[in-house]
Amino acid sequence: MAVRQALRRAGGRLLATQGAMAPAALGVAGRGLSTSAEPITLEIPVPFKGHNVEPPSRTVETSAQELTEFFRTMFVMRRMEIAADSLYKSKFIRGFCHLYDGQEAVCVGMEAALNDKDCIITAYRDHCTHLGRGGTVLEVFAELMGRKDGCSLGKGGSMHMYNKKGGFYGGNGIVGAQTPLGAGLAFAQKYLKVEGVTLAMYGDGAANQGQLFEAMNISALWDLPVLYVCENNHYGMGTAEWRSAKSPEYYKRGDYVPGLKVDGMDCLAVKQAVKFAKEYALKNGPMVLEMDTYRYHGHSMSDPGSTYRTRDEISGVRQERDPIERIRKLLLSHEIATVAELKQIEKDAKKEVEDALSKAKESPSPDSEELFSNIYRKSYGAKSYGADRKEVVVTLP
């Protein structure tokens, strides 16, 4: 009965995929179920709020394929971050580790509206953003553990993941620095007449940084195609937004730069907003997008995350606004997938993450020579020294 309803909704083309919905076919292709690209129209529950701009429509077009992909990708991201939590506690990861679980809808929704001509730059909570731009779970884990197969050869760590080919510029440890850097990326896109935008992401903590306003001023003056995406998870480390910002309406803080407030826990709302903003930016210049989101973990692994907010608040958000659960409900209510099929997706995702983890654990540490690599592109025979200058002298490669 359910299958026939789905077919009616999706149209005749689904007949071809009917076989894929049979339980026997599950687990073979890894996706199975309805991967139809037929449009499904949905209403975004939480309205957008506009500042100096008319918000986009709440009616968004998606498809079974897209919703399934949202679910799968966010689930992989969630598992990856939770695995990173365990890795940190077992001391495989050192230093700083800032986890993104809860915020997955932002980077996944963004990617649905972007292409390879667009660029993203973000701060230190970058593992999932890196994945969204084409990174692999293996290279994230290996980087976190400081191994050779890490995306930065093990030399960057949690906060320094990059993928230039994929248009991902990190991975930045200094709060707020990525905002003028992002405006610079947009400057280059415009200079080279590339039909793309840059999303410069920052948090509610960074939203008060002076250089953000310097970047906004110049990008508005020069009409740069940059979107300032504020991932407002309501806490800048341990400081709640009402304690750090006189005006926590971050989408309005651009003043002359128009802004949009978006439910950042809803992939489709994020997708709609970014699609709208990208079209705007390519013609007119910068826009601010405030994504109302939430992080389940503390600021970093050394922060329990419960000294400045209540456990009820955290579990409340998880209960009512979790981005993965939202998509799950959509997939089930639109009969795109059954409970069993979703369980299979979850199982496959867990396996993907576990396989990547074991492979990453096998990856060796970088060779000692790597201490001196990539200081310069062109070294002119310059020398560099280790702690013992007599023993360790290297002509830079």
Binding site: C119, I121, G150, S152, L153, G154, K155, G156, H160, Y162, N163, K164, Y169, G170, G171, N172, G173, I174, A177, T179, P180, L181, G182, A183, G184, L185, A186, F187, A188, Q189, K190, Y191, L192, G210, Q211, F213, E214, A215, N217, I218, L221, W222, D223, L282, K283, N284, G285, S373, N374, I375, Y376, R377, K378, S379, Y380, G381, A382, K383, R389, K390
Partner: protein, 383 residues
């Protein structure tokens, strides 16, 4: 750009250029853009390479040639465009290359430096001017954390072909906040290249090399030298003339003592060397040109020949460039020394304003002569 001539009340002609709002579809607002015509101002011309040039024109010619050579190069900074440059280094460039490539910025160093670095991540080759390198301190996070360290942190994925340039160090009467020398601070950073030209030929050759270099370079000029003329060699007039990064130059050969210096003090050291020669002291003068990478072989070979070392700089003494030079000699050539090395530096004070105090804060020729003699065990003994 469309040009429309309009007569001003005083008869001077202004070119009023209009341009469409940038971006597809265009802004609804057409912003008028006014700049002085060459006829009314007589100064909006780029420098012509000649047998004698001042440092300002030499820098200008380097920027001009590199802007022509590579469309990815662009210039950005305060007053670089319409004002023709606070120190006229960028004169004529806006008229020749247009607003896309010669960008006037608001007074927001951290913002525009970040933008420059971000554009270099993508692949452009910005030349970011700081009106004074002292102002670069506002943007130093981007110079070091965003630019210098990026290639390393990204495992070689993202290089940053950017040049930061501007006048560095003491000028004349500009006070404490405008007189600091940053050679030592920047010189300690791996991933950065630090260049300090002395004369016009070096300014031209090193700037061209820096712009062509794929790594972040900070190019420290000297305001007092901008107007000074120097002869230019035939080779230096070529549009592909560059000087090697990381190589010092022996300005004057000698056998009794090695004086290692850079920038403006090179000239003063050369004059001091003439006077010392009359007293029978033959001084070898090394002009570093490159603070990082440092030409250690050149310095060491020289001291192994002369057995004495005097370092000379205008910056602060503690943790200054001289310290690294002395350390490198101690590492590699200690037993060649016949006397402890001496360092001549600016006074260990913020730069005062009063002219007599200012004169006490920067090394003079008399200081150099006295200290070299002391190093050579002639004249007053060391305290």
């Amino acid at each position: 750009m469309l040009g429309v001539f309009r007569h001003q009340a005083n008869g001077a002609r202004l070119i009023v250029s209009k341009f469409l709002g940038q971006g597809k579809g265009g802004c609804s607002v057409r912003r008028p853009f006014v700049h002085a015509s060459p006829l009314s101002r007589g100064m909006a011309d780029v420098a012509v390479v000649a047998d004698k040039m001042n440092v300002r024109d030499a820098l200008n010619s380097a920027l001009d040639e590199e802007l022509t050579r590579d469309p990815l190069v662009y210039v950005m900074g305060e007053e670089v465009g319409q004002y023709q440059g606070a120190y006229k280094i960028t004169k004529g460039l806006l008229e020749k290359y247009g607003i896309e490539r010669v960008r006037d910025t608001p007074i927001t160093e951290m913002g525009f430096t970040g933008i420059g670095v971000g554009s270099a991540f993508y692949g452009l080759k910005p030349v970011v001017e700081f009106m004074s390198i002292n102002f670069a301190m506002q943007a130093i996070d981007h110079v070091i954390n965003s630019a210098a360290k990026m290639l390393y942190m990204s495992g070689g994925k993202i290089s940053v072909p950017i040049v930061f340039r501007g006048p560095n160090g003491a000028a004349a009467g500009v006070g404490a906040q405008h007189s600091q020398c940053f050679a030592a601070w920047y010189g300690s950073c791996p991933g950065l290249k630090v260049l300090m030209p002395y004369d016009a030929e070096e300014a031209r050759g090193l700037l061209k090399a820096a712009i062509r270099d794929p790594d972040p370079c900070i190019f420290l000029e000297n305001e007092l030298l901008y107007g000074v003329e120097y002869p230019m060699s035939a080779a230096s007039k070529d549009k592909d003339f560059t000087l090697p990064i990381g190589q010092a130059k022996i300005m004057r050969e000698g056998k009794d003592v090695t004086i290692v210096t850079f920038s403006r003090q090179v000239e003063i050291a050369l004059k001091a060397a003439d006077i010392l020669a009359k007293d029978g002291i033959s001084a070898e003068i090394i002009n570093l040109r490159s603070i990082r990478p440092l030409d250690r072989p050149c310095i060491n070979n020289s001291v192994r020949k002369t057995s004495r070392l005097v370092t000379l700089e205008e910056g602060w003494p503690q943790h200054g460039v001289g310290c690294e030079i002395i350390a490198t000699i101690c590492d590699e050539s200690f037993f060649y020394l016949d006397a402890p090395p001496e360092r001549i530096c600016g006074a260990d004070v913020p730069m005062p304003y009063a002219v007599n105090l200012e004169a006490l804060a920067v090394p003079t020729m008399d200081d150099i002569i006295r200290i070299v003699k002391r190093c050579c065990h002639r004249g007053r003994a060391a305290a």
